[in-house]
Symmetry: C4
Amino acid sequence: MDARNHDGLNQEPWLWPTQVWQQKLNRVRAGKALKPGKWKGNARLAVALSFDSDHETSELRNGGVSFGRMSQGQYGARSGMPRILRILEKYAVPASFFMPAVSAMIHPEEAAMIVAAGHELGMHSWIHESNSRLDESTERELALRAASTLEHLSGIRPVGMRTASWDFTPSTLKIAREMGLLYDSSLMADDEPYELLEDGEPTGIVEIPVEWIRDDSAYLAMDRTVGARPYGAPLMILDIFRRELELAYDEGGLFQLTMHPHQIGHRSRIFILEEIIRLAHSKPDVWFATHAELAAYCANEAGLAAASKAPS
Amino acid sequence: MDARNHDGLNQEPWLWPTQVWQQKLNRVRAGKALKPGKWKGNARLAVALSFDSDHETSELRNGGVSFGRMSQGQYGARSGMPRILRILEKYAVPASFFMPAVSAMIHPEEAAMIVAAGHELGMHSWIHESNSRLDESTERELALRAASTLEHLSGIRPVGMRTASWDFTPSTLKIAREMGLLYDSSLMADDEPYELLEDGEPTGIVEIPVEWIRDDSAYLAMDRTVGARPYGAPLMILDIFRRELELAYDEGGLFQLTMHPHQIGHRSRIFILEEIIRLAHSKPDVWFATHAELAAYCANEAGLAAASKAPS
Amino acid sequence: MDARNHDGLNQEPWLWPTQVWQQKLNRVRAGKALKPGKWKGNARLAVALSFDSDHETSELRNGGVSFGRMSQGQYGARSGMPRILRILEKYAVPASFFMPAVSAMIHPEEAAMIVAAGHELGMHSWIHESNSRLDESTERELALRAASTLEHLSGIRPVGMRTASWDFTPSTLKIAREMGLLYDSSLMADDEPYELLEDGEPTGIVEIPVEWIRDDSAYLAMDRTVGARPYGAPLMILDIFRRELELAYDEGGLFQLTMHPHQIGHRSRIFILEEIIRLAHSKPDVWFATHAELAAYCANEAGLAAASKAPS
Amino acid sequence: MDARNHDGLNQEPWLWPTQVWQQKLNRVRAGKALKPGKWKGNARLAVALSFDSDHETSELRNGGVSFGRMSQGQYGARSGMPRILRILEKYAVPASFFMPAVSAMIHPEEAAMIVAAGHELGMHSWIHESNSRLDESTERELALRAASTLEHLSGIRPVGMRTASWDFTPSTLKIAREMGLLYDSSLMADDEPYELLEDGEPTGIVEIPVEWIRDDSAYLAMDRTVGARPYGAPLMILDIFRRELELAYDEGGLFQLTMHPHQIGHRSRIFILEEIIRLAHSKPDVWFATHAELAAYCANEAGLAAASKAPS
């Protein structure tokens, strides 16, 4: 159990009094639905593509001891990113790149290229650390340092974040509010954007929800210590993403996708990205947006205070 | 090995005298087959759909420390349930919803809506606790409290239960008998309903058997600590469920299915539920029943005393 | 490392002197190829179907603490076996059933039915114990008791064995020789039968090789403690078995298959068995044999002494 | 964390000063791209097939305690290799076989046959040991002994190596340089060959990159202790390899493949190898090369000093 178990009770969950589980339940929770009547430009479908550009930090965070995994990370920057950027350019669609600060320091030209091409550069931790192993002050300090580093390297201060490994602690939302962020993209309570509640109170922060279902790593990552292998057939992944997109269209909703350059960027997988973009493009009424544009639009439509934090 | 290993012998199983393994074998076991000559209304196929509405309790039971997993649970209630209820309504088929009491307390409107729509609300533990970690009196107390909570919230006292994680202890059957339940749905000794034996004696309790094969979670759940990933292709799951259903039809039997709102309720998966219902509907002689209706019918046909406990 | 590591050296393998790894290598090893020029009746293809009828012993061996897993075992006997026996009868093909002695004691009518239908009943441990956790005298005693139990229940003394979990110890071959067995079916050094060598010396014992590739459990077994789930699509399993069979036919060889009643016996899987039998039946020149018949034929063709141990 | 963590700092990675992660990052890293304008003979596609002929050493390295796994290793040599060599001969394509020295000592006729057929025999450790468990002097001694053993058995001194399990230590590159090797094939930073950097300095050593995506074991290996099972459908593996090859052709690049005789050599899998070769053969402008020929060509085109180490 978490070292930061904040209730001070050392009981088995089935012995908890009601207020204990209620407090846990309400610490961070989905509130007001932020799906607008229509998306920008009267679009029926919103598409928000994102890439977590972890590169070598996935292994550095583990101590940097495996040169094999370090080389897989370098592949993301060296071979994966050029293929991804070429496809985004070909179809002229924007995307959000969430980059650990150390990854951006290793690849400053990548951070610059992302911004120059009109994409969003979002926060994604310092070195892909697991937030739940940090105390609050360390988590805050790393978050502030990450924001400053990205701003320094790209010239633009990030307005949103995605926690590394989607590891969201009891302090994460508090820190995001202190930093005046527009949005987070790490939680999974809905298919559509929503406002985050903290202890039951509206925060004005927009959540752009993610899901393992719409994450390439869930199918493709290899982990020798457990049985995780690249068992996800490329055509199965395309089929799943396509079904998520088609029903989003039917519902007039959002299709959000999380990918990793060192996973989707491979020769046998990159077609998945292109096919999904082609499918969305084939719809007459689609809006491709960065996560920041999407969050700002939702906040604005719903009259949230956060709308003012949107990038110009 | 289980702390409640009830034989008092500390031997390796290959050194056990015969009566030791016989006693274990007979503690809880499938008895009399309860498949009737014909299903209700002269139907050839019985279809019993069920949903385990665990929602946030899957994570609360683990201590409630991951906001990511908590948000996945909330998804079940917020996004999954509306899709499921819409499909059941569209085809006018009843289903059984097994709900931990804490889940019903978090979502009382859901519990009420289930009953109002004519579906069954069944017991499914207090907070999704693992029974085998409890002593008998704790298991009993939680079961009684769960039944009262569901009755209080829905106005109907549940007549059946499904153990959380299908974790059935040496005390579970005893408690179910004390509570006068009509049926359990946690064991796997047959495709068709059967009477449970306790230490070789008929209990009058009907078992509606489940199987991982007919459980969406077996294919779709993600567990980072082991290699479990959403590797189950949606079309593979449909193919497996379809084959189970087709042979049930050929045999004039029962097709039972277990699903979870936070799994099957997703955009890329919900079609599986609809396709299975459409397939069953296309048969000229199908009976869609709640688990309670099914158990009552079987008990009645076989002349079990439990038949009198059936809901009116 | 194995407690019975029999070299007395406590070194890392890369520091071993040559004779250490040579001794390990030669302890039990594939020798003379026993594939005959033609199979019985001038057939081009030999088909040896087998079923490990573990039933409840898989769980009893673990202490018999999970009623869920115990009920899955009972399913094998109660629901799986009738489907299997019906298909074997429909196509009039013989098979070998490897049954732990305790499983045969729980289901004596099954053991009798197998023999009455002309199938083979082979040894498969006492209670599905892991041989490598036993000392030699315990392994011997359990093997002898298992053989006597099967003989007592079926009237025929088994001539072959399959170790539970294919767990073959340094003593297993020695015990098989002492018992005068015709064959073993637990190892994987070839697609075709071969003679086993012990410390480099021919033993006269025939090995009918198995493989996880041709084992239903490798694709279908569910193990919650690791990431093993029923991810094996039924059509994928059929495709793999079919390819194994087709190339066996091309090579004029043996197609051997291992199944489990509680796995293959399910409604969504039983078609795999029927389709494989239909495919083999469609060949003009196929010989369906029990493992014992196959081993005896190979031993006889090769002039092994073991041929005299063949069942009449 | 690695016992040989060479920075002397005992800090969590997120507390590291910049120079710590920079030093780790640069220890071994991809440098100059070595993809030539055209492949040999003006080819558009280079195909480099490789087989890791581990055979029994995979199990000997673990202590040699499981006769089952040992027999699976023997299968590679006894049944897998003949099928592989036949296909390579049928299409007249060369390949590289990476063989642990102990595997070559167990199967000297295989080592000789490989070289006689015009294939390459490359280094692949002493007994498939994990380099990261060795100190530098042991790693060096085993590497030197492995090279001498292969040279003694085949008459040709190897010019390249692949680390067992792609386990590359901080000493591995240093030892390869001392040995004057032409190339390594264990890392994954690109699809195309590149020059390895050591602490930021060019080494002249060519890296022929591998990937789990193009490794049969990632899909097919069975590991009971984790959930790894042979879940990789043969047709999925072919589809993935085919997509890797097709895009390599589109990009005018290299298609490199890693296989294992005891995996790909099975009846249900060997068609994958043949289909991939047929597909490549169907291209009008393909160059099939051993890893050594490929590395020498790249080194020569780029004017690396290593070019002089190429085999004549």
